[in-house]
């Protein structure tokens, strides 16, 4: 064989080996004469390139497989349901969480249109329209949003869901990734919070327990099927159960019931929340724990109402139809709500007790004021009797003054027992009564000396109203006694107001003959003026006397 033939055979063999997949095969090109060396080198280099490409391709494929595996494990291990839908709405990816959430296996849903799998029929039309838009633009009413919707489980149950949808473009076609979360727990928790809030609000707002029970029933209905609901409270005096709230499709309120062997009594005895299915009922009946009372229910759920550590009653819901059953979760929830209801009942009972006690105390206080006023009236009458028997004008005058002072005090007690507010005295009404009383005592005709009262919205507690009353009484009496001698006509005015700093100003003024120069209340020897001076001190106030025009006394406290 010629050398050239051998080289050609070598080169053909190299091509066949590379074609068979052995990309590492080479020839000793440099041992060949030209131009075979170039041919050999070229084939060697091509082999090198194919080998390199093959290694790179393997790396890329491995990388792709790794990514695919990563994507799959992320999707499959996700807590939320993840699905990928093509632009026609058919399902391409359906993870384990989706299977758990909706009850369909991946094989059952793959390639099917999404709305037929878990969307309620009321959404179908919207989904159809949405996908038509999505197909063209990658946009739609749910794209890029997180929405709360309802979905349907394979078993037909409706589930509240949170759905987030995003759009992706693959080979110029739009696809959507949906992440779906079951928000039943969240919804339940929100409903529970709302129910507890309503119960708490009602505890404060409702007038009595019966009104509260009605709101409790409505609140529980938001959480559980509770068409049949009753509250049984034990009355230890009569040893009966009373049913202050009873709503039932099969039965009327049975009225007070002696303790028997019903389920209500069983929960009352054991102090434990109880869920009774027909099987549990038979078992308890067999054990002699209970006996049938009232129409038979499918499920019965009762919880003890424990107030201050003592069981005061039982709260119950029950169903008479197969479709309405209670779960152990419902039992927990109902037990928890009953605890809150017990607290509300306790709060309401405490509130009622406080209100009753307060009403009793108010009544007692009014009675005390009434009795004081009556006693003052007796003292005043005694002084009156005494003055009618006295002959000395000075004695009569002194007795009258004393009587006037005592009646000023009596008036306050009269006002208080007639008033709704036992803590504060309405000075406007009080001064009006006081002025009328003093004018009548001094037998002063209003046509000769009149009075004006300008006191509005001034309310003072007893401790300050009483000294105020006595001061006014003394100063009006003083004006009437000395300010208008003979037939002199004029007016007495009483003004009182509070400034922004809650300081009070009381002004008693007349337009009579005025007071002698150099006279002052502090230096006055009369009992009345000394009393005024002391009372101003008692009020921690100041007194200003102005005699430029009649008499004007200003007291600030």
């Amino acid at each position: 064989m010629k050398e050239s033939e051998k080289i050609v055979a070598d080169l053909l063999d190299l091509i066949q080996t590379i074609a068979a997949g052995d990309f590492s095969a080479r020839v000793d090109a440099f041992s060949y004469p030209s131009p075979f060396d170039a041919l050999g080198l070229g084939l060697n280099m091509l082999g090198e390139e194919i080998q390199d490409f093959s290694i790179e391709e393997k790396k890329i494929l491995q990388n792709l497989e790794d990514r695919e595996e990563q994507f799959r494990s992320v999707v499959e291990s996700a807590i939320d349901a993840i699905l990928i839908i093509d632009n026609k709405g058919t399902i391409e990816v359906w993870n384990k969480a989706a299977q758990k959430l909706f009850g369909y296996t991946s094989a059952e849903v793959m390639g099917k249109e999404i709305h037929t799998i878990f969307a309620p029929k009321r959404y179908w039309e919207k989904i159809k329209t949405g996908f038509a838009e999505f197909k063209q633009t990658g946009k739609g009413p749910v794209i890029g949003k997180t929405l709360e919707i309802e979905g349907i489980h394979k078993n037909g149950d409706e589930i509240p869901l949170e759905l987030s949808v995003s759009a992706i473009k693959r080979k110029s076609k739009w696809a959507a990734i949906g992440v779906i979360r079951d928000i039943s727990e969240r919804k339940r928790s929100q409903a529970l919070q709302s129910a507890l809030y309503k119960i708490s609000e009602a505890t404060n707002a409702t007038a009595d327990l019966n009104a509260l029970f009605s709101i409790i029933h409505n609140s529980i209905r938001d959480l559980l099927p509770a068409e049949n609901f009753y509250i049984a409270l034990y009355d230890p005096e009569d040893e009966v159960f009373r049913f202050p709230y009873f709503a039932d499709q099969e039965e009327k309120n049975p009225g007070p019931q002696k303790l028997g062997h019903g389920l209500t009594e069983y929960v009352f005895r054991t102090g434990k929340t109880l869920l009774v299915s027909p099987e549990v009922f038979l078992d308890l009946e067999k054990k002699g724990e209970i006996s049938a009372v009232g129409p038979p229910s499918i499920d019965w759920l009762g919880a003890p109402i424990r107030v201050r550590g003592r069981i005061q009653g039982v709260m119950t819901i029950q169903s008479y139809v197969e479709g309405v059953r209670y779960s152990s979760e419902d039992k927990k929830l109902f037990g928890f709500i009953t605890e809150q209801v017990a607290m509300a009942i306790q709060h309401k009972q405490d509130d009622d007790r406080i209100r009753t006690s307060l009403a009793e105390k108010e009544l007692l206080l009014k009675e005390i004021h009434h009795r004081i006023k009556n006693n003052i009236q007796v003292i005043s009458s005694l002084l009156n009797l005494q003055s009618t028997r006295a002959e000395d004008e000075n004695v009569i005058s002194l007795l009258n003054e004393a009587k006037s002072r005592i009646q000023s005090i009596g008036l306050i007690h009269e006002m208080l027992y007639k008033s709704k507010d036992l803590a504060k005295v309405d000075l406007s009404s009080y001064i009006q009564l006081l002025a009328e009383h003093i004018f009548s005592l001094h037998k002063t005709k209003r046509t000769r000396v009149g009075y004006n009262i300008d006191v509005e919205g001034v309310f003072l507690e007893m401790e300050r109203a009483l000294p105020c009353g006595l001061i006014i009484s003394e100063l009006i009496s003083n004006s009437l006694k000395h300010g208008f001698p003979g037939d002199k006509k004029g007016d007495v005015s009483i003004t009182m107001f509070a400034d922004k700093g809650k300081k009070f100003t009381l002004v008693i003024q007349d337009n009579g003959i005025g007071i002698p120069a150099g006279w002052s209340i502090e230096k006055s020897q009369t009992l009345g003026m000394q009393l005024v001076s002391d009372l101003v001190l008692q009020l921690k106030g100041t007194l200003t006397l102005d005699n430029t025009q009649g008499m004007k006394v200003t007291i600030r406290f």
Partner: protein
């Protein structure tokens, strides 16, 4: 035959590289089998000669009998494109034509490249790539 004077010369383990007065870098590869390490050395030398501005390069591969695939990839890389504005490959045999042809196809670099058998023609072509 080189007609332009050398301004600066850098010799590597496998090649002589110099910057010519006309702004062209010229390189003569003396290695029979060019390795990636040698390719790296040569590219670094050209980078130094270019002083941060891309230069046209005339590479004489008449003595080269093979270039390793990694070396080929390095010459065709983005790193090389940052230094070289164009490359003229000077050949004189079917063997180095085969090598040069790989740079026109499979290992095509991101800069203009052409094969010449005459240094003069190569210089003429490269002149258009000299930055003024």
């Amino acid at each position: 035959m080189t007609t332009s004077k050398a301004i600066r010369i850098i010799e590597t383990s496998s090649a002589k590289n110099w910057l010519r007065e006309d702004g062209i870098i010229q390189s003569i590869d003396y290695s029979e089998h060019s390795t990636p390490e040698q390719a790296w050395e040569n590219l670094s030398a050209m980078e130094e000669l270019s002083s941060g501005r891309k230069k046209p390069v005339l590479v004489d591969i008449t003595r080269v009998r093979s270039i390793d695939i990694k070396a080929r990839k390095l010459y065709a890389s983005e790193k090389a494109a940052k230094v070289l504005s164009a490359v003229a490959l000077l050949i004189n045999s079917p063997l180095n034509r085969v090598i040069a042809n790989f740079f026109l196809g499979i290992n095509k670099p991101p800069y203009p490249i052409k094969i010449f058998t005459s240094e003069k023609d190569a210089t003429t072509w490269l002149t258009s790539f000299i930055e003024k």
